[in-house]
Symmetry: C2
Subunit: 730 residues, 2 copies
């Protein structure tokens, strides 16, 4: 009986099992295709934890050591070495990416002539050389002795040999020359200026109309060294401060991208404008020098400038009489079209390969570039190592594709990234979820600094909360950050302050302004209560070396590690989240802030001219209401169980939001600026840039009120257009 | 025992059933969500058949009767009646759309003054009026007596009262005035021109530089009536030909969209440029007249023009001596900003509501506008009735959303559609699969005519094959068409010839040129072996009435029906097909044809100037190769079983293809033209328009070769960019 029961039970079980199997597999019509699970997959928090734990500070340190072995100015042999290094890493079978390759552009660069070094001399009326400024920076470590250290120069300064009396012109702003011109006849003079206040090239562009024939520029110790000057015990190699002979190199070009091929990728046969048609570069020779030389020159000529200069020049008086002597510049810079490489690498997305998250940094430096840009490149290489390994081991493949860009020739004007966006304009516009830029990863080791579109703010916060602050126990990067920089948001309460990408300070420029791609830039930075340095003092000098970085910027590379973890966390979330982690209501808050400022500053005067701000107010209100609605749709959706096309629809709305703010006709005088919310502005007001600039112009030129009205319409239409994209799709 | 076996079998069956049920429903993880079937659904051929059978010619006829009761020029009371009609139909609870509404724009229009009618007179030296041209067209049916029939006029002609000797200037082309100027001093003259050869406004714009002070324009019977002229037995109401007093009205504005608000939607508070800054409109008064009046004037003045004119004027010699008399124009046109309405209607998509197929036509006419535009509107209303009914009955909902647009103020310069695209620029750019324009649905009843992007060709063919040709037994629209107009395609063999949308002839202009949306325009048209009429003869006259349409253009409305079926078939396929039915290889063929022409015409001379065509050749080759690849991907995919995101990816590639050809900087002198393949061109060569124009300019102005090179780079980059979007997405 027991046996029979047993048989019965076994048979029953067998039949049941057969039934289950038939029910499960046999009725194929309703069994789910294998992709149903895949398309609904969200970011895997355990993978993020694994990623965070694998990011290694020592790897970053060793990356930096490799990258900074030799100077790697764009298109030099050193640059090629870094190209090879990137390719080797990204093509590594165990820790590399799916694919990596180089892309070349033939771009217009400017170099000093190694055979005829630029010279700055003081000459007597009989042309006797009384004093010669340094041609090179002083050597403290063997790095400065590398023959490939480029002489300090101003890229895109014309060659020339101006000679004239020296005048001190402060920061070379328009107002500086105007003031000086009240008391001094500037015609035929050489102006000496300090960095800051105006763009590099602007110091010469502003000078030329007054008849100035040459310009010198130096970094003032008050601006960079918290006043310290002595290389006996105060400056590098004793501290992070700039030695007296240190010179900031730089591009003196005011726009971004290759200047001969505006809006066109600079291929060999691409049409090039005549070089004489280039605008925004110095019309007269300009040369950067160290503060030691600058002081000698200034102190001897101080009476001429008739300006009070608070520098201790009295103590270094020279036996030079500049009242009768001239300063002479001998500039031998030349321009050349050269092939510059971007190195590209990709991890192909599993579910939405046609959606891109782009992460980039430039590779080229002025000299060894340990901080600028190799700190960022070291971080990028560590990210790709950790992510690449997971991919190669089959443990992970992101939902969306990730593109890594190691841009070339950034130092000459963000050229590699700009050419890339020109070449792939449509494809990138259509498919890019976000661009993450990590150029200088660590300026200093006090706190996070982040800039970007407001829609990215929450995901940056989320990532920063999951990363330990370097050097602090049980404090997150976020908790540390909020102590250094915060603001109160109506919707979010007290939060860290995320800056805006309204300028063209790094390779995000083309992504933000030309393509309208949601972008961010992050780094570790200063404690402003401890230094007033305009930027880390070795910036663009021969002292920006591995030794400098590892001793004074980030000993132990823990801030680098924190940036790698934070940026990588954001990257994974952007690539893997089912719902694209961009928040449109945070964008609305910024627009409202901008609007409030605009109303306060402009409404009264505009009303007097019968220009209504109501369309702008309505547009911002529409945007807010559409954003609230979309957030409500998102909250009330069970996205993991929705059709993937519904999720994609919402994701497209979020991804393409910034594109709606583009208008190629909004800024006819600004090259490649199309984003009406983030364009650069000279008015310096925390509001819509085109409106602020148009208003400032109209105040000084009454015929220009029409342009204010025009821009208000452009702006209102763009914001309304953005609101339309967030509302119900039909 | 039997009982036991029975019980056993029953138990076994019950257990098996339980198992099946558990297997099927209990293991929820792997049962398919309900949307899995929906997202894979393709176009339903039986639904198309149902649609075709329901399209009713009598309904179309009655639509036309309703639409043409009164004249409905833009913004008049008659226009408002048609707005109400559209809204009533589209909001009908049984046959309407999901939603319908109106959208207003305040646009700049031009009208004659009803209180001071424009006059054309012949006056003696003592200002005695010797002859007065007709103010209105002759009445043959009561339609012409409607007080709302607008007096013939040239919209945007300035008011003015020029008086001078009459000269005959042929078509008013630049070459016509140039030739005339060789023998006659044109200063102070009135030029009489015939329609054709040059744009309407161009006849005045070309004249002004020679000192001409006024222009008349008429439709020559040789151009419109196959030479027939007599209203006793030859012209309407005896045939479709234009009566002697018939006058073609029109907009004499050369660009599209509201002229005071370029690139901005014309809302009440939008910035408007000063009216004096408008370009492209007649600088001197111009007025259209009938050929009867024109002949009287020309015959009397023929000696002056010194041109041979082959018209039978000798027989209608008047008692006017124009050698001593003057012709005087008294033009009282005025401009006014008025609210013009678009009527919009939508059917919301079921699976991809964020993908739009747009179907549109203008609603405004010059007079009754039976053919232009009401033939198209009648067809649109019949489409929406049939589709709306299926939606309301729950029998159908398209995969993608369908948007219907009944545009306002097209006759004044495609204003309603252009403002719509300006207001919704981003949303439409991102989401629109295609735009279908059916303006004049039936010019004549011989054969189909279709124009559009080559990627649409195959779906037009497919639709045309399923529709019976009107009036022919067992012949499809396709089979009939291919007999009238065909070409041999390398890939497709002998096929009907699909034209291109390179001009701005109807509301597709803003969609094609400004937004880069894949578009088409279809109609039924002439047998060219039977008529040389430039266009159907009642075009823009007071004779374009229901009577005219139903008697002479399409008795029985069977050609209207064929257009409704063909256009509707394309519409349903665009909205319902799983794979967007756009073919990129057919686009490649056109690019290759263009390239071959360009190489033949230009390569030799370009080589001489060191301008290489290789980048263009490479770009076209890249495009071809990417298109072949994508077609291969499509062919090898089992789309119905793929993840919907894979299908979406391919569909996005196809949908966005035309967007890749946009460059807002490609045509700095052409308003709103951005599509480098289809822009208008004055060179008249079957090749890339910007290249052809730049080359033609350079031939006459040697400093302009740079612009040829520049445009070659723009063009190559756009085509390469398009190829990038078709290739592997990563």
């Amino acid at each position: 009986m027991i046996k029979q029961v047993l048989i019965g039970v076994l048979c029953g079980a067998a039949v049941l099992t057969a039934g289950i199997l038939i029910g499960h597999f046999g009725i194929t019509m309703s069994s789910a295709p294998s992709w149903v699970k895949d398309v609904a997959k969200d970011v895997d928090e355990s993978l993020i934890e694994k990623f965070l734990s694998e990011v290694d500070n020592i790897q970053i340190q060793e990356n930096l050591r490799s990258l900074t072995k030799v100077p790697h100015m764009a298109t030099t042999a050193g640059d090629e070495q870094t190209v090879q290094l990137m390719l080797k890493r990204w093509q590594d079978p165990e820790t590399g990416l799916d694919q990596a390759w180089r892309e070349e552009f033939m771009v217009y660069l400017s170099f000093p002539d190694p055979k005829k070094p630029n010279k700055v001399t003081v000459v007597s009326p009989s042309d006797e050389v009384l004093y010669t400024a340094r041609e090179k920076e002083k050597t403290y470590t063997s790095d400065q002795d590398d023959p490939e250290v480029v002489q300090p120069y101003a890229a895109y300064s014309p060659a020339g040999h101006p000679k004239g009396k020296l005048v001190y012109a402060n920061q070379g702003k328009p107002s500086d020359y105007q003031l000086l011109n009240n008391t001094v006849d500037l015609r035929g003079t050489i102006a000496i200026t300090r960095y800051g206040g105006a763009g590099r090239g602007a110091k010469a562009i502003n000078a030329a109309p007054y008849g100035v024939i040459g310009v010198l520029v130096y970094t003032d110790p008050l601006d960079i060294n918290d006043g310290l000057m002595s290389d006996i015990n105060e400056t590098y190699p004793h501290s992070w401060y700039m030695p007296p002979s240190g010179v900031e190199r730089g591009s003196f070009n005011g726009q971004f991208g290759d200047m001969l091929t505006p809006y066109l990728a600079a291929k060999e046969e691409t049409y090039r404008i005549p070089a004489e048609n280039i605008t925004g570069i110095p019309p007269i020779p300009i040369q950067p020098i160290g503060f030691e030389d600058a002081y000698r020159l200034i102190c001897s000529s101080i009476a001429l400038g008739n300006l009070f200069v608070s520098i201790p020049c009295c103590f270094i008086l020279l036996n030079l009489n500049l009242f009768s002597s001239d300063v002479k510049l001998d500039i031998f810079n030349y321009e050349e079209k050269k092939n510059s490489s971007n190195v590209m690498g990709v991890i192909k997305g599993s579910v939405e390969p046609d959606r891109y998250v782009i992460y980039g940094n430039h590779r080229d430096s002025w000299v060894h570039g340990a901080i600028d840009p190799s700190s960022g490149t070291s971080v990028m290489l560590e990210l790709t190592r950790v992510l690449g390994k997971m991919v190669k081991q089959g443990k992970w493949r992101p939902r969306r594709s990730i593109i890594f860009g190691s841009w070339g020739a950034e130092e000459f004007g963000l050229i590699g990234s700009a050419e890339y966006t020109e070449q792939y304009f449509t494809k990138l516009s259509e498919r890019t979820v976000a661009y993450i830029n990590v150029d200088i990863a660590v300026f200093a080791n006090a706190t996070l600094r982040a800039s970007g579109m407001p829609s990215l703010q929450k995901i940056i916060f989320k990532a920063a909360k999951q990363v330990d602050a370097p050097g602090l126990d049980s404090t997150s990067v976020y908790d540390n950050w909020i102590q250094y920089s915060n603001r109160t948001s109506q919707a979010n309460g007290l939060i860290p302050n995320v800056g805006y990408l309204s300028g063209a300070g790094s390779d995000y420029a083309a992504f933000v302004h030309y393509l309208g791609i949601t972008s961010m830039d992050i780094s570790y930075t200063y404690d402003r209560s401890k230094t007033n340095a305009r930027i880390y003092p070795a910036y663009h000098t021969a002292y920006d070396t591995f030794d400098y970085a590892s001793k004074f910027i980030d000993p132990g590379f823990v801030s680098h590690q924190a940036i790698a973890r934070t940026a990588g966390n954001v990257l994974i979330r952007l690539a893997d989240s089912l719902l694209v982690p961009l928040n449109c209501s945070d964008y609305a808050e910024t627009l409202e802030d901008y609007l409030n400022t605009a109303v306060t500053l402009y409404q009264h005067q505009l009303q007097e001219r019968n220009i209504s701000m109501e369309p702008l107010k309505r547009a911002v209100a529409s945007f807010r209401s559409a954003a609230t609605h979309l957030d409500q749709v998102i909250r009330s959706s069970d996205l993991a169980n929705e059709t993937p096309l519904t999720v994609r629809r919402i994701n497209d709305q979020l991804m393409l939001l910034d594109r709606a703010f583009l208008d190629p006709l909004a800024f006819p005088d600004k090259y490649a600026y199309r984003h009406v919310i983030w364009a650069s502005s000279s008015a310096g007001k925390p509001t819509f840039p085109g409106l602020a600039d148009a208003f400032a112009n109209a105040e000084s030129q009454s015929s220009a009120w029409d342009k204010v009205h025009y821009h208000l319409s452009v702006l209102s239409q763009a914001i309304e257009g953005a609101a339309h994209t967030l509302g119900d799709v039909i």
